[in-house]
């Protein structure tokens, strides 16, 4: 189980200070799929980077499996990292290694299993993602959907209790999205894996999630089951789900007033 309490994070200093996460609270239940949705720049990837320990929060706590992890460093952080797997948006497979070596890497580094056992386990993981037979290919020879499935196989190589997915369906065709969705659901239901999915694909999030958290400008604006989100009366949530360009979520990302900025330019 994962619990995030009062997480705050901002980047930059002085006038350029940008608050990315403002008082983020969330609970991800064991064996369930929690999706974090929101537009680009809403802070959803920042939440994920905190969970995997890439960022240290300005304030707040992150509890993973009954342990406060946000301030851990070195060996202690590595201990926590072995509990979870992560599937990156780009896959982040090692391009110099074959598919087999990629999936085997965590096992070779963190277990004392002998080589033949590792090869059997790699085969099992690849079968789970439906890509048995691709062992000797290099990542450059794979399609986008295949790369994500291999990345998933690598994420679950050490049978983690928690798997984080960063944009699992971004840039994929509808069938590949369906395949990935089915894999995420299967892992969570069959193996009791706690899943946290960061995504902006609404249909996919609706299909797979037990709980959806919607972020807007670093704040949670909605949280609940897919049904509750669908029936939400908040205009911002409605706009995001319907994907309409007009609404309370502005098209322009600028933080200053347009007229003021033009006037200032006149000084020169």
């Amino acid at each position: 189980m994962i619990e995030i309490k009062n997480l705050k994070k901002s980047f930059g200093e002085g006038e350029k200070r940008l608050v990315v996460l403002d008082d983020f609270n969330a609970k991800m239940e064991k064996g369930q799929i929690t999706s974090i949705i929101g537009g680009s720049g809403s802070g959803k990837s920042t939440v994920l980077k905190h969970l995997i320990g890439a960022y240290t929060p300005d304030s707040g706590e992150i509890w993973i499996d009954g342990e406060e992890v946000s301030q851990l460093k070195g060996e202690a952080a590595n201990g926590v990292r072995k509990k979870f797997g992560i599937m990156f948006q780009s896959g982040a497979l090692f391009n110099s290694l074959t598919v087999e070596d990629n999936v085997a890497l965590p096992m070779r580094e963190h277990t004392d299993l002998n080589e033949s056992t590792i090869q059997i386990m790699v085969k099992m993981k690849l079968e789970m993602v439906g890509l048995r037979g691709a062992e000797h290919l290099k990542p450059a020879q794979l399609s986008g959907g295949m790369i994500k499935r291999i990345a998933l196989a690598r994420a679950i190589a050490l049978d983690p209790k928690i798997v984080f997915y960063d944009e699992p369906s971004a840039g994929l065709d509808p069938i590949s999205i369906g395949v990935i969705d089915k894999l995420i659901i299967g892992l969570s239901r069959k193996m009791g894996i706690t899943s946290v999915v960061v995504t902006h694909e609404i249909p996919s999030a609706m299909r797979i999630s037990d709980k959806i958290i919607m972020l807007f400008k670093g704040k949670i604006i909605a949280s609940g089951s897919p049904e509750e989100i669908k029936n939400s009366n908040d205009p911002r949530v409605k706009q995001f789900i319907e994907g309409s360009p007009d609404g309370p979520i502005p098209f322009s990302k600028s933080q200053t007033d347009y007229g003021e900025e033009l006037k200032e330019m006149n000084h020169f």
Binding site: R81, K82, L105, P106, E109
Partner: protein
């Protein structure tokens, strides 16, 4: 006008302060990365986390074996050129048969280690930065960290060990090729008697020439790997940064190699 002038000076002054702050930040970053690399490579194996030699062998082939052709070619030609260049001057002094001595000492003490290091800074340092920089940009380094694997131990240590072993080896071979190049020109074009050439060469060369050359090449290896890796690890952003930092990496390691050469040469000059 005066205000403008002082404004200009002021801006320049602050620019200088910024630039030197940047410079010292880079230096301290390089220092910390070198320290953790040395720790990972030499101290951790003593604490029961042995280095894996598989990746080291791969890197040794990549940086050593595959660089041998270009290193051989360059050092052979340097030997030839040196023989030609020195022949004319030595002939005026009537000391043509000392071409061998001059070529031998110059190659062993200076040109063998230096030219090898410069060739490797271009060939290997650039490859290190480009390869690891691309890994950084495509989240592979972050993936390593989230798998609880230390990028320093996983990426830098094999390259560090490989170059630390291979650069001195290549230097020895470059020395031999350079001396051979000089010998070839000496006995053919210059018409020096082979026995006299070899005798003069052996008289002039000492074992300490070889040793100081090898010590230098070890230092050069550390510089090339650490600059190459550091320039890769500080990359944030995209392909453009990878290109920029690869260029910077080669320039900086070449300069540092020559500076280190000066430092060690003067050190040996006073000590030995």
């Amino acid at each position: 006008m005066v205000r403008l002038f002082f404004g200009f000076i002021g801006r320049r002054g602050f620019g200088l302060v910024d630039a030197s702050a940047d410079f010292f930040r880079e230096i301290s970053g390089l220092y910390y990365l070198t320290r953790s690399t040395l720790y990972c490579t030499f101290i951790e194996p003593l604490k029961g986390k042995p280095n894996k030699w598989g990746p080291v062998w791969t890197q040794m082939e990549e940086v050593g074996v595959k660089s041998s052709t270009i290193v051989f070619l360059v050092s052979f030609l340097i030997g030839v050129i040196l023989a030609f260049q020195s022949a004319h001057q030595l002939n005026r002094l009537g000391a043509l048969e000392f071409v061998g001595a001059l070529v031998g000492v110059a190659i062993l003490r200076e040109l063998g280690p230096l030219m090898t290091a410069l060739v490797m800074a271009g060939r290997v340092g650039a490859a290190f930065t480009a390869e690891m920089g691309t890994m950084k940009v495509s989240d592979e380094v972050l993936a390593l960290e989230t798998m609880a694997l230390d990028p320093v131990k996983f990426l830098i240590t094999p390259r560090f060990l490989a170059l630390l072993i291979m650069l001195p080896c290549l230097t020895i071979m470059a020395d031999l090729m350079g001396i051979f190049g000089g010998f070839l020109i000496g006995v053919t074009t210059l018409g020096i008697d082979p026995v006299v050439y070899v005798n003069n060469s052996l008289d002039a060369m000492e074992i300490k020439d070889v040793v100081t050359g090898l010590i230098k090449s070890g230092v050069f290896a550390v510089i090339i790997v650490m600059v190459g890796s550091y320039m890769a690890f500080i990359i944030e952003g995209g392909a453009e940064k990878v290109g920029q930092n690869t260029r910077t990496s080669v320039v900086v390691s070449m300069i540092l190699v020559i500076v280190a050469d000066l430092v060690f040469t003067s050190l040996f000059f006073f000590v030995f």
